[in-house]
Symmetry: D3
Subunit: 287 residues, 6 copies
């Protein structure tokens, strides 16, 4: 199981400060129970165990947790991020001083359970649209401070990322259209402002607006809160002139219907804002 330098380049900075914050929350001026009760030289080890079926995500944070705590913890990843594993699978083994392991255990699991929860839920959506060619996207409805990690987790679950934030993609919504005095104006102002490497996406609420957006050459169009039949009609009307994204009111029950309607993308806020932590344990024992 290997983590390339580059992988860490990307994330380690953001992970580093986030992991540091999480450790500080939990450790403050120290783990007083261990300080009082556990001899410094004592060694321990244990297994990370999946207690339900899940898709793994978050090992990078776990590694960073123990790296921040000690240079002598060894962590053996048996299944890497993105793997689907069954309940009962041992996914990793860890070994080091008992004090270091006790100090990092909870924070490591908090990351791993929460991020694997996102990956696992994403996979469920992705499986529902299997074979349709439609891709599942995340949104900006992420946990404050964890966006980068949650977006990685979405990819681990088979989803794709939408823009990372307000700075790396133009998405013209209803208020922008009002502010600019119509779709035509908004798109033309955006086009003259934005770098030449970015497409322009416009949110539309109905088929009239869709026509307008197509007329001004929007490259991506977001169909906001439309029914499946409206979406079907939108796909026909568009007939390949723009990419189409569905957003709003999508869940595991209706996602396949939207996909079958022929859109390119479906974005799902629930991937990040409603994923529950999956159950992963770390059973440690002393040597």
């Amino acid at each position: 199981m290997e983590y390339t330098d580059q992988a860490f380049l990307m994330e380690s900075d953001r992970i580093d400060s986030l992991v540091q914050r999480a450790l500080e929350e939990d450790l403050g001026f120290g783990d007083i129970t261990s300080k009082a009760v556990v001899d410094p030289g004592l060694m321990a080890g244990g297994e990370f165990l999946a207690k339900e079926d899940l898709v793994l995500a978050g090992w990078a944070a776990v590694l960073q947790v123990f790296r921040n705590l000690s240079s002598h913890v060894s962590l053996d990843l048996l299944h890497s991020d993105g793997s689907f594993v069954r309940a009962g699978t041992v996914i990793g083994r860890i070994q080091g001083r008992a004090r270091s392991l006790f100090a990092g255990e909870r924070v490591a699991l908090n990351f791993l359970q929460q991020l694997s929860g996102v990956a696992t839920l994403t996979r469920k959506f992705v499986e529902r649209v299997a074979g349709t060619g439609t891709e599942i996207l995340d949104t900006r409805k992420t946990t404050p401070g964890l966006r980068c990690l949650e977006k990685d987790a979405v990819r681990m679950g088979g989803g794709k990322n939408h823009r990372f934030g307000l700075y790396d993609g133009i998405l013209i919504k209803d208020n922008h259209i009002v502010a600019a005095g119509g779709i035509r104006n908004a798109v033309s102002r955006a086009r003259s402002f934005v770098e030449h490497m970015k497409k322009i996406e416009v949110e539309v609420k109905n088929l009239v607006e869709l026509d307008e957006a197509l007329a001004v050459g929007a490259e991506v169009i977001l169909l906001d809160n439309m029914s499946v039949s409206q979406v079907r009609e939108a796909v026909q009307k568009t007939s390949g002139r723009a990419s189409l994204e569905v957003s709003g009111g999508v869940n595991l029950d209706n996602v396949r219907d939207y996909a079958l309607a022929g859109v390119n993308f479906i974005s799902v806020g629930a991937l990040t804002h409603s994923a529950k932590a999956v159950d992963i344990s770390l059973e440690l024992s002393l040597f």
Copy 2:
């Protein structure tokens, strides 16, 4: 609706860096859509609307979001943290430059929805044990980086906080007991280490261990993963010599049974690790 200085003293530091981080995630080098499309002078306003029944938590973060973005946003809180509101209630009003509101909208909602989610779930647990005298506690199973805010949210929902981290409370678990060579040793080492203002809590797995813990004068005892009937027996055995906390396997269905068994505290990881974001919208319109 007032926020005292002191309330902010407590939280503002932690909130400040966290909100800053969340804004950086979302804004990077700027909201390019607004920059392109929205005139800087344009004003907007809107209402925060509860779309389901919920308990509010997170206003401090929302305030901080807009304070970081502009000194000219005014935010009028109609219902404060801790209030239970019905679906359809307008909980706050906001006004300011359109660009500032668009820039902060998503991050503000991400905080408010997630933290109100924690408060709302906590209230459900608290309501289940109403009249029993048992208190609902949170755990350390919090979202990395958000512990302080989530623990506030738990209080807003009527719960109480367990220790904040490993540094402000002694909790002797099975591994500590092994490490120290028995409960007696562990408790005595802890007692001689810890400040005189802290109680010592010991986790026990069965009634034999409970006896041992009582024998060495543990002031709080955590009954780990016991059935309701075991807990009932433990309460009898203890008969007031220590406070008792139940932990493990507690859910909305069985929490009242545990409470009726007579324990003082029930700690519930789900309060923070499994709370879903509640639905709150912010509908903005231009002036």
Copy 3:
């Protein structure tokens, strides 16, 4: 002269830490000459004077410098960022305690002269291509730490920005092509990786590669280090199927020829890596 909140939102964070760093470099533990010689209550004022024809950029940094130093400095901007002013023009007036003005003077001018230098040089390139429809772009060859400000300065001079960094645009260069085993592979891997809102740009060194890039549907093609006549041929071959960008070896003498060859964009490293500080003075006098 007004600076909207939102304008500051975007930049103030980055400016803030950068200005802070620049002030620390210059002030360390304090301006010992002023501390020794200038009474704290003494007031001063003065004018920022353009000593050559120039395009202004950098006021936001200047404002931040004096805001960090004192809450009592007033700065009156007579010409805003993006204005072209003749030698001899008073562009701003400042007033405050002498100590504050002496403390910030050099750092403020260092920002203003350097960034106006970038804007001024950009304007020269933009003027050369006037009427051709070609746009002048910057590159990533910026001064370490100043990218955001220099890219703003480029816009103030009438240029447009290329991608901000490696994270917000796909540009496939020769090494990437080798790494992926050909243009087709590289483009297809990029397409399946990248968000749906980004175009894919491919760098080509000759017309054969151009054909390949067109064949795989690259949305933007960078013509690397080609002669004007090669570029002309490339434009013909492409005939609107992709946007074309020229890069490499462009200077004030040949930029118009490249533009007349019909490309959409010309990127010029010199805008940022070879701009010289323009001459702006701040003459202060005591009241």
Copy 4:
């Protein structure tokens, strides 16, 4: 080629945060092109090549760039900071994972080209005054955030540093003299304030002021914007009673005349504010 610990002690802190900032500007949440197109395991290497005659400066920053990106990049410096090299010289070799090299390439070159530009320009001034005994000094007109590195580059080019900032040297200028009510007062206040290890420098605009400054025992006198003949007269008048520094209006054409007039120091803002980046390439190829 060796970098001693101590050399890094001095600079590494400042370089570290500056390099970090520069990498963040360029990399944000990651190099998406490489992530998409380049396999993590792929190795690459290449040569840093001087494309014009130049004096090297900035290796410390280059080392820090790659150290921040990966612990597995090896960098072999063939010519060290301060070396004069001819166009066509290979000045260093680098090897590591392709992704790491692609990620750091631009930032590393931005540092190296700009700082070598400063060293190269400094050397030109130093050569002009060869044999005169006059030393070339830098000023505080440095690029915000880069002062420390640029002042090092000046030394690499054979120049000497003036004070680092307002905190480590007393330089009494015209406004200070007005503020204090005359040169005598200003110098006496400065003397009683400043540590006993610092000399006091006074700026004078004419020979009358020079006399005053000499009369009060200024240890260094800055001749501001004087003609060569005025400077010659000043040297005679002073006749060794103080060190003399020329400042203002000095360029490569007239610097030798000022030096021959007999002053000890000539300070030149252009060393840092008008140095252009020199041309250094890094040609990478995959293994």
Copy 5:
């Protein structure tokens, strides 16, 4: 002499930023004397020597100082924190590049002398109460920024820590009692607020207040500024129903009397606010 990972986990974060700050104070942009005069390759070494009888504390900071300066300094600790050593004892040996050792020498000694001063003074108080069963506590009267280290030093001297700050222990003082409208109210509000793992301490000024505090079940009672005879009476009255702490006006002369009066704890502000640096030298010589 070994420093466990965990020991460093606790402290290294806080020490790291503090040591960094202390080094920056002293080194700024570098040790210019060594840079000028000492060849980079020169090696040196030396001994840390106790020049008076003392209790050691602060090695962790010393280690961090040299670790921050160089990865090639070796430090051999002959006596560990908490050891009592006689004047003339060599307590550690150090070796590395001369420049690194010169750079860190003063800062390292500043930590070691000051913290050993705290440990040494603490030991004097602890020795005075030997055999009485009373424990010596520190207070919050610590040097700003050094609390964590000073509280460690107190433990090294045989003392125990009081609460670390306002956040990890409830101590109800006179103003709190007034604010709450009496001891009963104050204690009951505190009890319902605080986590179940914390005891509640109440400060009383006389025996009437002591009775009140006992009546409401305060678990710890602080006897503020009482005479020895009052304390004796308080101990009798309390007769084991609460722990008793003496605070105010305690010095080396009267501390034993207070201890013999039978209290559990005596807290002494002087341990930290009046400890003088002990004399430890570091004699370096070149190899």
Copy 6:
């Protein structure tokens, strides 16, 4: 009582982060006693009272403490930094919310007592040498993290500062002399390295070395650990050719003898490393 902007410019940055750190140490996640017991709206006020004769220093830190805690605390300084006040003098008044005052009280006093302790001790040394023309200097033996504040306090007590750190003054000690191969070499290397605005100081251990130092034109000479009679001889020998500083073994008893021996400066480590906190109380009461 007024604090100019500039005064704050100098210090506020360093003070800000230091005060922040000190508050975090004490407050962590909040003052739980006040949160539990004191109503947020309650107002309080009080007086800072000198309980012994002292020289004031540290108000800037006190102001910063309360400014960080609340924007609604008003602080009225009746005696400013540098004032000598008698025991019993009210030196300042404070008013604000009770919670804010309780939260900042201890940290504010920790700063004020410790820094006034430095100023007070300095004044004692300065008074001892009154009329001799000798100046009392501090050293680098300062409390880690507080150097800037302690050096200010020394000036408040009538002393002067030595160099701030290793970066702003050349002081050639015995090891440097060995490293350079003699005094002549060391001085000549230092002279060619250092900026032209700095004097060079050389430490000598006896009169032979003094002769050498004078011979090479050292501008300041430090007489290390010499007896009063040696110092007297050194003064005669030097006869004005260099400034002389005495260091080592100086205390309140012998400082006047050294001064009368005719040296210019006496540096005293005890000013900072052995100053005890003076007694200042803050008695608060509720309104």
